[in-house]
Point group: D2
Chain length 138, copies 4
């Protein structure tokens, strides 16, 4: 059951003015929502630091004409199938593909899969994005 | 047509030893591949700084039980349908969803979509990942 | 004159518990202080994005035995003396020095000084840290 | 004794052109120097990940009129005097000060000092910059 609590924050009115302007630009409806986002983002960083079970996305851009590349990427993914929840493929143009993988596991395991995919010859660019299962981030 | 060129890099043998150890851990097959990745990653950062046409992924984690949230997120996405190439949805557990969007446009446009989705009440965590169309990163 | 205002933040009690634990570990005395820091850090990022007058520190580590290096670094600094407020030098060991420069100016000017120092042959490592004049961050 | 080794890197000529343009803008004299910097920066990240002995700078901006703040900051620093090599103080304006500390120790120890200083009430902004002793980065 969700239980909301409320507490007061005090700050200088100039600081609050600047914060309100930033919120407006980022389309936040309320200060509480913006502050909850700042808090949660800090906690997500913490979960990764502590190598807890978590979720990440791995994004790679590659040229599918490179010989054997698609096979290699598929092999690597199957080797780690236990960690990979799902993937999506986008044809960026005649040559280039973008693939996003949603990966769940300990931070260190996810980083290993990301390193291996990004290091594969023919992968032009790759990045790991650290997100969360959302647990404990009510 | 791809045309490979070759040039020499000189460095201290201790530095090279340390670099080789790092490559082994990250599963790089050759030094050239690792250096190309470092170069490309720098160029991708540059493309975003210069607000050129580029590609990003937006990852959000949210609770689909929050009233109207799914509708709101869908509305925002349709409003920006010209920029959003594709989306993938993963059911993390009974309550939580993860959604990844592949977005193409100028860096500033992509950031605006990301800000709006992340600011929506009920979205627990969101991140923009800056990648590339791969153009000019042969 | 400083004028404090107060407003209420509501969040789930689990989220608040996790946040309180994080604060304790980071030695924050109150939630308000921690939230003010999160807010200010966001505003500092904004000031740099908008290329306003700001303050940064540039840290470089180098080997003072490299021929002419000290002269070159001094020349570069004098060329930008209008931007550089102060520098500090630490002798890390027999060979290596660390130098920190406090630099004030537009973000783009500060980045240019940092790029030039870091690119100088013999500088082993260099980093720009984006901070603030503190104006508007009451 | 420094011993230079040389090896060849092969890449597409378009990628090399783009890299050369980036180097020119950042004032690098040679490709080797730029690549050595990319390599060293990766290794420095690794040293921090592995919690080895390393060097960081902590930058804080604060208002010296805040009651007892200077005393508190001095107390914290003395408590960690074994880690703090040196500090520099800049008077930014009538109210605000910037202080940079050069800190040497394990990554986790340095982070703890940074967290404590940044969390102190009256410190407007603080940042830890991860650099290196330069050892093994010939």
């Amino acid at each position: 059951m969700k239980k909301l609590v409320r507490f007061g924050v005090s700050l200088d009115h100039h600081l609050l003015d600047d914060f309100d302007r930033l919120l407006a630009r980022k389309n936040y409806a309320t200060r509480s929502e913006a502050l909850r986002d700042l808090i949660r983002d800090n906690l997500v960083g913490q979960q990764w630091d502590e190598n807890k079970e978590t979720v990440g996305t791995i994004t790679i851009v590659y040229d599918h004409h490179v010989h054997d590349l698609t096979e290699k990427l598929t092999d690597i993914q199957h080797h780690h199938h236990r960690l990979i929840l799902s993937t999506m493929h986008v044809h960026l143009d005649h040559d280039r593909c973008l693939e996003v993988l949603v990966v769940r596991g300990r931070g260190s395991e996810i980083k290993k899969v990301a390193d291996t995919l990004i290091a594969t010859k023919g992968v032009k660019h790759g990045k790991l994005t650290m997100t969360t299962t959302g647990k404990g981030l009510s």
